[in-house]
C-alpha cells in the first residue's frame, strides 16, 4: 500500500526538503504515525497533544478536507493522495 503525501514548503524541514513523501496507513492517523518514523517531528506539526488535527493545517485526502470526512480517522486506501497545506486565517478579533 502506498500513499503519496504532499508537503507544503514550511514543513519541508521535516522531510529533508522533499515536497512529497510516501507512507501507508489504514487511516490518516495511521499514516501520520508511519511518516513520523521516517520524518521525526512531522506528526507533531499536524496533530496536537490531545490527538486532534492541528488548526494551523489543512489536510486533504483526494482533494477533500478531512475535517469534512473522518478527521484523523479518515479511511485510506492504496493510491490515495494526501495534501497538507498551512491554514490561513486572521482578523481584527
Amino acid at each position: 500500500m502506498t500513499i503519496e503525501v504532499r508537503i507544503p514548503t514550511i514543513l519541508r524541514t521535516y522531510t529533508d526538503g522533499q515536497k512529497a513523501v510516501e507512507g501507508k496507513g489504514e487511516t490518516l492517523a495511521g499514516l501520520l504515525d508511519d511518516l513520523d518514523g521516517r520524518h521525526p517531528g512531522l506528526r507533531g506539526r499536524l496533530v496536537t497533544e490531545d490527538g486532534a488535527l492541528h488548526r494551523f493545517v489543512n489536510v486533504y485526502v483526494n482533494d477533500e478536507d478531512v475535517r469534512f470526512l473522518g478527521g484523523l480517522e479518515t479511511a485510506l486506501k492504496d493510491g490515495d493522495s494526501v495534501t497538507v497545506l498551512p491554514a490561513v486565517a486572521g482578523g481584527a478579533r
Binding site: P8, D63, D65, P86, A87, G90, G91, R93
Partner: protein, 133 residues
Amino acid sequence: MLTLPREMVDAIVAHARRDHPDECCGVIAGKDGVATRVFAMENAERSPTGFTFDSAEWLRVYRAIDDADEDLLVVYHSHTATEAYPSRTDIRWSVNTPGASWLLVSTREPDVDEVRSYRIEDGEVTEEEIRIT
C-alpha cells in the same frame, strides 16, 4: 516596498467594500517579486471580526500558484471597524505564510480607503510602503 498596479489595489478595495460588514480575504500571486494576479477569496467565517480561507478554495488557489511557478506575494484581508494594522491574531497566523506581505484594508470609513502593507517576522510588524504603478 510593495509594488502593485493601480487596478489590483482598486480590485482589492472593491472586494473589501463588497464584503463589508464582513472581513474579506484573498491573495496576490507574484513572480520574482512582481505581482501577477489577484485571487479574491471566500471568507469561510463570514464574520465582521475574523477570516479563514475556505479550505477547498485555498487548495485550488495554492495549486494554481504553484503550477504557474509563482509565489504567494501577499495575503490580504480587511478590518471592518478597526484600523488597517495587523492584530495579534494576524501576527499569530502570519507564521504560516512566511515571505508573504500582509496587506490590510480598513472599511471602517465609507469614504476613506485605508490600504497598508506589512512584513511580519518573528512576531514583529514592520510597515512597508506600497508603490502604486
